[in-house]
Amino acid sequence: MKTTREIIIERALQEIEDGMYVNLGIGIPTLIANAIPDDMHVMLQSENGLLGIGPYPLDHEVDADEINAGKETVTAQSGASYFDSAESFAMIRGGHIDLAILGGMEVDQNGDLANWMIPGKMVKGMGGAMDLVNGAKRVVIIMEHVNKHGESKVKQACTLPLTGRAVVNRLITDRAVFDFTPDGMVLIETLNGHTVEDVKQVTEARFTVSPELERVTVGE
């Protein structure tokens, strides 16, 4: 049986297309990099100043001057470039990055995202997340559908301080995929054997079901 993490990564991988410039957030999104097939050419951007992240180094290749935004030692792939932090965010904010895949704490039906602080607990900071959600051409959020108490993280309105308002294009959880459209939030896929009914039960947000999905479900 697949773990929730594996289900999310496998589905998120489908968002990445050959030739894209992509920023993967810290944590689970970073793991997507390892799943990208070798024959697909993708330039991964790291906001500390590297376009073209390569694999982790071999033991003898480790270089303290070459890290990713998660502070992990990495390598640079062929065709990579280094640049300063202002240039890095010019790339991000200026709409030159095709896709950002980031983690989330809460997403709501308006496409609002919260992923940087929990009031009353430690505040670590937003890093580059607020710039990425406003600047990348497409923003995909990946997260577990419910928290450890079984409560929906897919909200009618986020309860945590926002990272960005109406910034999410697509949400991928371990149970479903939603799109945020001018007509509202739409369920476009269910994952891992969950039915539309299952998803409705664990989702606080109000959403519609895409006609294509209705057809598939009825056909089963």
Partner: protein, 233 residues
């Protein structure tokens, strides 16, 4: 002994950094941080510092050293995780923190160094970051006014410098350093290697000498790694 811009010691290069000064400091995590200058500041004991830097080191390295000795009054950063001393001082109210989105922080430093007092950015609209800030619409989209930053001192780590202060950075240790170099009333650069004028190819200079007032050569760089990740051969 000082020769032109080149100082003989870190103590000499940081001698006039005063209590209450604002320092803009290069580095991302522990990568490309001016580790020798930070140690000199710790030894000097200068206090009530406002430090503008993307991160605040770890408990026992980088800017975390100045937290341990309670020399920092205020941090302006985008991410301050990985540091328990920081967490304790923040929760007890000993240290003030201004969290700034990373791209906004970079642009504020760039703008400050470039003589731009403020700029509009979409980052942070509709979030707690926007509170109290002027907002303006351009083409139907809302932007926030953010202000440039200039420090009393900028502290930079470069790979190589020539004696005039032309700088070259190495790999991702470049990060905030080139923009930080532009954003100090006085810019102090520590380097691994000092070369003669003419040895650096003008095509490959990242920071032109005009931004740099002081150069010090560091030795025995620790370059600590925060997360050592490797693949199997």
């Amino acid at each position: 002994m000082k020769q032109g811009k080149v100082y003989g010691s870190f103590a000499e290069a940081t001698a006039d950094i005063f209590d209450g000064a604002t320092l803009v400091v290069g580095g991302f995590g522990l990568c490309g941080i001016p580790e020798k200058s930070i140690t000199a500041l710790q030894e000097k004991g200068v206090k009530d510092l406002t430090v503008v830097s993307n991160n605040c080191g770890v408990d026992d390295f980088g800017l975390g050293l100045l937290l341990q000795t309670r020399q920092i009054k205020k941090m302006i950063s985008s991410y301050v995780g990985e540091n328990k001393t920081f967490e304790q001082q923040y929760l007890s109210g000993e240290i003030e923190v201004d969290l700034v989105p990373q791209g906004t922080l970079a642009e504020r430093i760039r703008a400050g160094g470039a003589g731009i007092p403020g700029f509009y950015t979409p980052t942070g609209v509709g979030t707690p970051i926007a509170e109290g800030k002027e907002q303006k619409e351009f083409d139907g989209k809302t932007y926030l006014l953010e202000e440039g930053i200039v420090g009393d001192f900028a502290i930079v780590k470069a790979w190589k410098a020539d004696r005039l202060g032309n700088l070259v950075f190495r790999k991702t240790s470049r990060n905030f350093n080139p923009i930080v170099a532009t954003a100090g009333k006085v810019t102090i650069v520590e380097v691994e290697e000092l070369v003669e004028v003419g040895e650096l190819d003008p095509n490959e200079i990242h920071t032109p000498a005009v931004y740099v007032q002081r150069i010090v050569v560091g030795t025995d760089y620790e370059k600590r790694i925060e997360r050592r990740t490797v693949r199997e051969a």
